[in-house]
Subunit: 404 residues, 2 copies
């Protein structure tokens, strides 16, 4: 699939991309590259039943143009859902339904920043956010993270520096829970610090939380939006990981000013989100399918996370490390600093295994020896076999580097 | 619905919008404002059957992330469809599926022009194109049209003028067939002239053809894309008017350079179009539902066009004129020049009838005494009653203007 592959090749030259493209249709390729949920996580029968019901009762509306901000009923259900799951108090007027979270990632720099202005991100951060910032010619300043999330002490000194230079960033973009790509979760302490800094410096926060409900272990940490007193935290949610991604339903929760700007932009972007998808999501929530489905997804993914970690232990050379995330979809793997994981992709593809090179997740490609490995999409057997192949590729590379 | 209403209020001040908003939920409101197809045109039972089949046979893929350019199978079927219906020779590689035509309207100025550069449009032109140009900070230069379409002699002198000033426009945007809002169709002669000018001046053409298959009368005129020798005509199509708009499926046909730029941008905009919608459109074409459905839609809309025209004859004051389009969805009505149809909206809403003021369709609001009337959405009885109400509003306004 083009999308899965395209996410591997960020940061490569066109000639390198052409070189790699010949591998995409190779049979037997095992990909840890994409951010795809496992199809076993889809409640296909329930969705079929829901669509049948929607078309029988509301076909005229479900197939017609919808409103730009999304159906009121769906926004009411989303408000209930985020209250229950994330403790966020909001109203339908503060919600806008988007065509997947990606549309929100594109729209926010467009309405909150001008070309050439700066947004703060984690480094590494989500590749789709990087492409949205780039498409809007908005600059990124990456703040490093560790297993406790974004380093807010570094954030503080950067904000201070930027304030002195008279050019504060337009907002701080963070994925605090099960971060993509690193898998880390920001501690409560750092969340409080981040919110304090946001208020002190008058810089809004955009909290992206696609994986929050996919917690396999550990204790829930409150969302930034639930702790927000300033009204300056914008929250991004999505149905892609807890319903299905193909229906392209995400949402933004924010203050009226931001929602109304995004609403105006969305009229130019695509008029409205798919109406049928909106009705499906509404009924999915009303029937409580999500609440029934999520524990199944968690069990499925917990097993896959554990399997991938034990496979890494078995097959990766000593000195390699990986995150051990309490949820989400990715492991962040670091190999010996002598290895450039972007250059290594070609060798991995020759062995029929794919990953995304860590450099793709750094706003400016800063680090060269990481891989993001998705553990949710592949079958268990593919995880075992794929990590074994990848371990071999890394070990061979390490040997050849050492010999040279 | 927000969208239907929002299209009425382009060009108004926020205070005026708040004033008008109180009318939106008034029961008994008859709206000729939106560009919505009639729900009777939807093949709901066939679509239900198609979805059931898709989810039973391909549920995993139809609910998963899709490829950014759209499924190969769908692009193959679209290539066949445009060959059959519009005589366009193309290949799947030259097609990209978009989230409705609106996404194409947004993406093209983004990839083909820089902020501050100029695109040529018809004046009046589609309101959604205007908002896409505005969102991209691209300037519009409007070329007047008459019942034979865009005045290509004016286009020629403008191109000459711009060439001399050293700033040729980035492309020419046209809706040559059943133009929105005017309903006019460009003659074959002018189409040839337009293509010649495009080649002579090296300015590409973007042909937007949402209504081409909805011809009620008169003889088909070949699409610009079918006559193109240069490879510089980009063609925009949509399933919104011939399947359903709620599924948000449009497409771009262009040369590789344009398709690849849009593909890259689309990764930032929304990653991919709704997969389920893609599968529905594919199956809709494979089962030939579109070919069976279109004659029914044409018959339905022809009757509504005729009914609206006879109602206008009956109820509008002398001196009013309207287009008599051979297809599409809109009548373009001109009332006495003393009347400002934007100011008149409030009085119309008080009488429970809505339309879009003509000024909204001019890049710079040039003309003040037109209305765009949609004839496809309303029931026949609503058309009779709504035009009667609107005729009364216009007649009263005319009297009060004359008295004053």
């Amino acid at each position: 699939m083009t999308y899965r592959f395209s996410s591997l090749i960020e940061g490569l030259k066109p000639s390198e991309i052409r070189e790699l493209l010949k591998y995409t249709s190779v049979p037997g390729m095992i990909s840890f590259g994409g951010g795809m949920p496992n199809p076993k996580s889809f409640a296909i029968d329930e969705i079929r039943d829901i669509i049948d019901h929607v078309l029988k009762t509301n076909g005229d509306l479900a197939l017609q143009y919808g409103s730009t901000s999304g159906m009121l009923g769906l926004r009411q259900e989303i408000a209930k859902m985020v209250k229950d799951t994330e403790g966020i108090d909001t109203k339908p007027e503060n919600i806008i339904v988007t065509s997947g979270s990606q549309q929100a990632l594109y729209a926010l720099p467009k309405v909150l920043a001008n070309p050439g202005e700066t947004v703060i991100t984690e480094a590494p951060t989500y590749i789709g956010a990087i492409s949205a910032f780039n498409a809007n010619s908005v600059k990124m300043l990456g703040i490093p993270l560790d297993e406790h999330g974004m380093k807010t002490d570094v954030l503080q000194s950067e904000l201070e520096r930027l304030k002195k230079s008279g050019s504060l960033p337009k907002y701080i973009y963070t994925i605090p829970t099960f971060q993509n790509p690193a898998g880390y979760t920001m501690t409560l302490e750092r969340r409080k610090h981040l919110l304090d800094l946001s208020e002190d410096y008058g810089v809004p926060v955009v909290e992206d939380n696609p994986y929050g409900q996919l917690r396999f272990s550990g204790k829930k940490v409150p969302s930034l939006a639930s702790m927000d007193q300033s009204g300056e935290v914008t929250y991004l949610g999505t149905f892609s990981k807890v319903m299905t991604p193909g229906l392209r339903i995400g949402f933004i929760i924010s203050n009226e000013k931001v929602v109304s700007k995004v609403n105006l932009l969305k009229q130019a972007l695509d008029l409205a989100t798919n109406s049928l998808s909106g009705y499906i999501a509404l009924e999915y929530l009303r029937r409580d399918v999500m609440a029934k489905q999520i524990p199944k997804i968690i069990e499925l993914y917990r097993g896959k996370r554990d399997l991938m970690i034990s496979s890494l232990k078995e097959h990766f050379p000593e000195g390699s490390t990986w995150s051990n995330p309490d949820g989400g979809m990715f492991l962040w793997t670091e190999v010996d600093p002598s290895i450039d994981t972007t250059a290594l992709i070609k060798k991995a593809l020759e062995k029929k295994v794919a990953y995304v090179s860590g450099a793709a997740f750094f706003p400016h490609g800063e680090k060269r020896n990481n891989m993001r490995l998705n553990f949710t999409y592949s079958d268990d057997e593919e995880i075992r076999e794929g990590i074994s192949r990848l371990g071999e590729v890394v070990s061979q590379e390490l040997q050849s580097v050492r010999v040279a």
